[in-house]
Amino acid sequence: MPVNSGDTTWILISSALVLLMTPGLALFYGGMVQRKNLLSTIMMSFVSLGLIGILWVCYGYSLSFGSDNAGFIGGLNFLGLANVGQEPSPVYASTVPHLAFMVFQGMFAVITVALMTGAVVERIKFSAILVFSVLWLTVVYSPVAHWVWGDGGWLASFGALDFAGGAVVHINAGVSALALVLLLGRRRGFPQQTMGPNNVPMIVLGAAILWFGWFGFNAGSALASDGLAANAFVATNISAAAAAVTWLIISWIHRRPTIVGTVTGAVAGLVAITPAAGFVLPMNGIPIGIVAALVCYYSMLLLKEKYHLDDSLDVFGVHGIGGIWGALATGIFASLAINPAGADGLIMGNGMQLLKQLVSVLAVGGYAFGVTWVLGKLVDVTIGLRVRQAEESVGLDLSQHGERAYGGLLR
């Protein structure tokens, strides 16, 4: 098909929007940690832009979207961007240059790796997270992306729906983060000591950039500048708003309405609508967002306060749980009337889709957890995942990076 300039414009802009989400995430996370670990937290997100940015074009794209191997992984036909040029791909986003589709997808890989780092802040060794990221992109992200979005990927053929990465990005990162948290152990002082946040306005700025960029993430995944993109755009905004307000209300009833809670709610809503945005009626963003806030809020309480799990920045609590709800919500609210390339869900009388979504949740979650555990263990026994006690005490900014976030002689 010929290149459509409207579609191409939108995909390129969306790629830039999704790119911006990674530094946005860096700020969102950065504001939450103790000041002595602010730079380290930002660094782990930002470095993904460089590291994954290169690996993606070298081989990541090929493994994810290359020619199929038994539905499990792509081939090497796109190695080093071979066969990825200005002409559209015959299979993916056939009205935009192949390069545009590839770079759009690359931004997703970048941010997925960055997302995970939120769980291991304030105690992970920098070299360890770098090595782990390379392994994880290769062995976890690429296969899962292939299953869900690859041409011939088994979950795609099976009929599981994931519009913009509820499974590929959020469940993947969230569950993998859980495995890392269990391997790594708690921060010293957790849970007795309140640790952070060091800069709440920074958290809000980061969340705002995430919300803004998410329009590229979800509406860009329509891979066209059309009604479906508009549908996804609006559904995204509605879900974010509904979740933010719900979080505000439940935290007010429970304790106090905080800005950190409200923006976390918005993020939960954005996560949940991600797999659904191009398959559901935008107004369904309201129930999807409301439930996202509820399940994420109470999961986080349970995990942190009851089980003392130090998922420091709630990667599993928001992205894992939110992504799982989003995948299931897609199975509930999907409608062929919205997107003929999708499916009908439970409310349209097709309960089977919900089951398919559950299968994808279990498959992606199980694989991500298991393989991450193995990779994490591997890195731990070779390099070591955790910094030494003295390094953790003085903070990672100084011990890992030799940098101070804010000037001044003392602190």
Binding site: K36, R188, G189, Q192, Q193, Q389, A390, E391, S393, V394, G395, L398, S399, G402, L409, L410, R411
Partner: protein, 112 residues
């Protein structure tokens, strides 16, 4: 009356506070400080040599208590701030000439 100034690790604040509370000592002032002991900060190993961090972040807890309470308070702090690693901190005990409660004007023993 004596003033107890305790320099402790940041992450030990909660256990120390709790131990003092359990012994009914509630009044205190906490400040963020930087300091070092005899080791002149800490030396971290880089691949190509050493990197020294001179002044390390700590917390200072100050409280004024009656003379007879000093041993209990010092013991509570030591037991809960100690990790066994270099950098656990120090406690200084100073004499206090007088104490006044601002709200009521109560003096000395009545103001503690």
């Amino acid at each position: 009356m004596k003033k107890i100034e305790a320099i402790i690790r940041e992450e030990q604040l909660e256990p120390v506070k709790k131990a003092l509370e359990d012994n009914s000592y509630f009044g205190m002032t906490v400040s963020e400080v930087s300091g070092r002991g005899r080791q002149k900060g800490i030396t971290l190993q880089w691949r190509v040599g050493e990197y020294r961090i001179d002044l390390l972040p700590k917390l200072k807890i100050e409280l004024v208590v009656l003379d007879e309470d000093v041993p209990v308070v010092v013991d509570a702090i030591v037991r809960n701030a100690r990790t066994g690693e270099t950098g656990d901190g120090k406690i200084f005990i100073l004499p206090v000439d007088g104490v006044v409660r601002v709200r009521t004007g109560d003096k000395d023993k009545d103001a503690i």
